[in-house]
Point group: C2
Chain length 222, copies 2
């Protein structure tokens, strides 16, 4: 008893809903996901819930322990750093390919997004910046013109989103972020694949490196 619209595939719809709930922190890391609870909450049977959870498990957002149910994947600082390490490389590849393959149109659009990022009301609001920043990165991925890469990178991006959001609250991070974006755009504009790649890598890896510290201040709820 939740929604009127009836999607052709409930499990797909539920997957997105649960994904969203995890991203926005409604379901926090370590939290147990009871199939029956979820089924009641969404007014469906266990079957599509299970199928949604299986998909989320494949993408790493939840963990399914055999016979012991599903939990939102707990935050593991080590693994998180590892994920940033991989993310950095994927974004670097996006940037490298983008430098060679971006269309005029895409480049103009990217610059437009960047200009919007720089607006003061956005700079001063981490939540607003979060969305614009996301737009920028998605535009970068698309400019790689490698659909498989776009898919993989977008996936990992999603999985790291909540952490990146936190990261933006660190003093001065938004301004550094903007500067880095600008450098990346310049490199791409000049078709300098190597620079673009290195800059993009650094743009991500720096977040991973700072994360260990940031995480130390957090208490993962069990």
């Amino acid at each position: 008893m939740r929604k009127k619209i009836k999607p052709s595939k409930l499990s797909e719809y539920l997957k997105e809903k649960i994904e969203e709930a995890i991203a926005t922190g409604v379901f926090s890391p370590g939290m147990k996901l009871d199939e029956i609870d979820l089924a009641n909450k969404f007014g469906v049977s266990r079957t599509p819930i299970r199928e949604a959870l299986i998909q989320l498990a494949s993408s790493g957002l939840v963990e399914i322990r055999p016979r012991r149910g599903a939990v939102v994947t707990p935050i593991d600082p080590k693994k998180l750093y590892e994920m940033f390490e991989v993310m950095a490389e994927l974004e670097a590849l996006c940037a490298k390919l983008a430098s060679r393959r971006i269309t005029d149109e895409e480049l103009i659009n990217m610059k437009k997004i960047h200009e919007e990022c720089k607006k003061t009301e956005i700079i001063e609001n981490p939540d607003l910046y979060y969305y614009k920043n996301e737009e920028f990165h998605l535009a970068l991925y698309k400019a790689s013109h490698n659909d498989f890469l776009i898919e993989q990178t977008t996936n990992l991006h999603k999985r790291l989103s909540s952490f990146r959001r936190l990261q933006l609250r660190v003093r001065g991070r938004i301004l550094s972020s903007l500067r880095e974006h600008e450098e990346i755009i310049n490199a791409i504009t000049n078709g300098d694949a190597d620079s673009a790649s290195q800059l993009a890598r650094h743009h991500i890896i720096i977040q991973g490196e700072r994360f260990s510290d940031l995480l130390a201040t957090l208490q993962p709820d069990r």
Copy 2:
């Protein structure tokens, strides 16, 4: 009516079985995977079959079209090239990290595997070389000491395995492969992260580049 051993989770077991059947070509690309057929074949109900298919769909091995069932993901030359492009970058990252993090033990083991690859009886048998080659690459991934990277790379490796296997039948490919492995090992031994990274990238990308040609000679069965 197939196996005596009873795994704790049928869907996991079935996932592996179907995965294997796809890798070995028993289920060829484009082939329809009827849930009821599979259920009968394995002597189980549709439920665990569905769950297995969903997992395989998340990993990209099969495609599930809503209301139209599952098929083994058809070969798309463009996408395949894209996958190699990403794979090259992941392996490059493995090599880079390995140069910095590999243990003495791991390095010795890697050299041992490489020596085994060079044995004549293996060089002359693409199928044998396939397995030894795989060992080499898995050792490289592990040496990165980044569990998330290992997982991602191993996944993609699996997905490309059947194509790599084909690739090994190209005249002279095995010998080039060996030479490239040797160069990678040397770079890692010297702790030369940049060279190792570039060599590993090239080792993979060359396969992707040659694949368009190779694929042209194949007829994807519908």
